[in-house]
Amino acid sequence: MPSDSPTKPQKDLPEDSSRRRHGFTTKGFAAIRWSAIGLAIASLAQTGLSADDTRPEFRPKRVVRPFPAIESASFIEGKKVRDEVRGPELVLGVVIGGKARAYPINQLTRPTREIINDRLGGRSIAATW
């Protein structure tokens, strides 16, 4: 059962402050683990954030070990789905360049699954949960 409690310990990813540069999290980061899902393209774009001087410094509060990135998840056609995903299960759906893709949330949960590096409709994207 997910929680948005920032203090909830994670069994499979213990605290590891010796590898701080690899991990995250602030109080807020802990919350996002179970919170939002969005799709973000991986191509970078500088935007004007110069007004951010007032923001507090980013200070990770808890650090988790890094885990291998998922770069080649398996995909099937929706019409061939049998039990891979069921009707009432939630998916994150996106359409890019006329191509539709669904990421079942029940497959995106737990830290090693929360970032899917992917390509769709000619764009490099990351599905995050």
Binding site: F24, K27, I32, S35, I37, G78, G87, R101, A102, W129
Partner: protein
Amino acid sequence: MEDTQTESLWSHILGECMRGELKETRLEIMPSKMMTWEKWYAQHPDTSVMRLSRTVENYTREFYRKQMQRFVIGAVLGDAVKAYSFVLLQNESVIQDSIGSTPVLVTFDSESTRASLFDRRVRGAGIIQRTIDFEFDAKTGRLRDRKTDSDWDPSTGKATSGPLAGTQLKLLPGIVSFDKAWRTFHPDSAFYKGTRQK
């Protein structure tokens, strides 16, 4: 999250690099929808779907239904940040509003716990852009625009009949989030208050 090239640290919810070489770089948030598989597949029969093993089983429509008060859909449009609680969305089903200077339509389907955010501005036959003014009849579930009396599908954002049939509203990058997480990352966010308090 961390990128493997520079080991910079990124925020999922902001799509922004928080620390490291790429600090303050932002990823573009792509418009997406969270909904039940059956509804997604009905609307996108050509969809592909990721196939990994399930790590959990609990993310079905019941997950949101039983704790509506904990969730919002929010968006950052330019300098404007605004969120809509699932409770108000459930009560109103369709919300016509603005986020900063962007006129928006927020629609909700409690059956599939889908919340979607659309831009109400569409291009007509010429280069003229117009803002659609919607009216929703909660009794019949009919969503129509006042000017042409066309019917619209609140789930897809597409006009289904009438003079504007076939017109598609642009889906905006709304993010479904825990209310608490949204407030943590967007401390200056505006919140929709509901029609009664206006």
